[in-house]
Structure formats: C-alpha cells, structure tokens
Symmetry: C2
Subunit: 166 residues, 2 copies
C-alpha cells in the first residue's frame, strides 16, 4: 500500500477579519494557484489514487478538491475527522485499515499532525524530524499498515520542487 | 548547516568482466547521462556547495566529479574514506565537524551507509526506513551536527523527479 501525504496549501492567516473560526479559513488566491501547479506535478509523476481522504477543515478540503478535480477523481474524495488537527494518529490508521483493498491513498491534512504521522510510520515514534511545508507532498510505502514502524519514506517534495516538475 | 546527500549513479554490475574489484566499478553510460541530468536539477534548485565530499570508490567519485563540474566547483571536491562503505557514521561525522565553517556540504557515497546516516541524524538510531535510489538526493538541516538525532529531513528526491526538474 502506498500512502501519499499532502499538507494543505497557503491559507488566509489565522485570525484574519471575517475568518475568526480557524476551521473556515480558505486557501488564498496564491494558495489555489500553487495547488493547481502541485496537482499538475502529481499528474507529471503519473500518480493516481484509489482513495482521497481529507480533513474537513476548509483549507484542507479545498486542497483535496483541487487535486481531485485535476486528476478527475472527485468521486474518490471523502472527508474524515480522523485527519483534522489532533494528537493521535490511531483513529486515522484504524479508519484506513477499515477501507479494505486500497493500493494508493492520498491523505490531505495539517501540521504538526502529518509530520508526526510520517515519523510514527517510518520510525515507530513521534520524534523523527521531517519538514512538510504548506503544499509539501510525500510518499510512504508499507506492506502492512499499523500504529508503529511499518513504512518506508520513498520521497518528500517541497512545493517549489513540484512547481519545477510541471 | 545543510547536509546534502547523494547516492552514486547507475554503475557497472557487481562482478562484471573486467571489474572484479568492487572499488573500481565505474558509472555506465546511462548512469553518467542521468547524473548530468541530476546535476542540472541541482542547478535548477539553486543549490551550491562549500564542500563536496565523496567516497573514493570509482562510481561515487565519478558521480561527485559530474556534479562538481556542472556546478564549477571542482576545487571544493575532496575524497574521504569516511564515506566508503562501512558500518559506523562516527568517522564521517568527526571529519565533518573538523571542517570548520561549512554551510552547505554535499556527501556522495553508498547504500546502506547513506540511508543509515540519514536515519541516525533525523531519528537518533539506524532503524528509520528511508529509500535512497541510485542518484537519489536529499537535504538535511542541523544547528549542531552530532552522532545522534540533530537534523531535520527537508526533502528527499528520486532521480526520476530530478529529471523532471531540468
């Protein structure tokens, strides 16, 4: 199973007028434009997804929607609270294991949750230091997903690098 | 300090006629061509190096020479046994610490040594699973290099991804 992990794009600042509710902060215009470039890079890399899971928060949902639209995979997009900002990755891992046969899943969410998830899966604890910028994207592969060390980090890309790949 | 890590490119097969000595195996023609493409990607990413350290084995030295030539940095290339295939990263880390003020160092070497080095620096032990293909390239950043967890993995690229960046 391949797990692709994408952090949401550039969003309206925390506490900006009109967006006092953190859950409602949308991507900025620049954030949307860059996310479209990232989606083009995902296509250039010939990656596809059986399943696209996203945090329900607006900035993550909009990120997932852009990728799903670019890849013509809107029907494979599901929102799940297990990808909302939280301390434990256990509910997400259980949710993924309940999905049955999935070869390539995309997870769209937030920091620090996502880099902690990567750390858990490649090293067994939350202490491994991996940088995931807004719009950062990586691939993990695993034979059997579990809550612990079970995966290899195959690559980790910055948004700038993806924009060079179009 | 930024540590950039590059695995040597595609080399003549182990035990091929005329290359019974593993240390002498050179890059193949395809390996050299791909390494030039990777060197172009390094330029496209606007990366430069104060110091280029390479294993003295032919396939690593040729890899480092291509990058150094592409970046017009031949005078900054040094060969060191501390990057030859070995179990411990301690001699390499001591060697690096003895270099004084270096902001951006490139290390060219072999697997499994390099991915074990990455694991040590980002997680503190040798157990974290990171894939470094032939020609694979990554960036670690650290405030104070030591033999243990001290660095963040900023990105990790496959050769195919770098070829898309030219």
């Amino acid at each position: 199973m391949n797990l692709y992990i994408l952090r949401h794009g550039i969003a309206v600042e925390h506490g900006a007028a009109g967006y006092e509710n953190d859950d409602e902060r949308p991507l900025t215009g620049k954030g949307k434009r860059k996310m479209w470039a990232i989606a083009e890079a995902i296509k250039a890399l010939e990656i596809s997804f059986d399943l696209i899971l996203s945090s329900p928060l607006v900035r993550a949902r909009q990120t997932a929607e852009i990728v799903a639209e670019a890849l013509k995979a809107r029907k494979r997009l599901e929102l799940t609270d297990t990808l909302a900002p939280r301390d434990s990755a256990k509910p997400l891992i259980e949710y993924l294991k309940d999905q049955g046969a999935v070869d390539d899943a995309l997870l769209v969410g937030h920091e620090p949750f996502l880099s902690r998830l990567i750390s858990l899966l490649i090293s067994g604890d939350y202490e491994t230091s991996v940088l995931l910028k807004k719009g950062g994207f990586c691939k993990l592969s695993t034979v059997e997903l579990k809550h612990g060390r079970c995966a290899t980090l195959e690559w980790l890309l910055t948004p700038k690098q993806m924009e060079l790949m179009k």
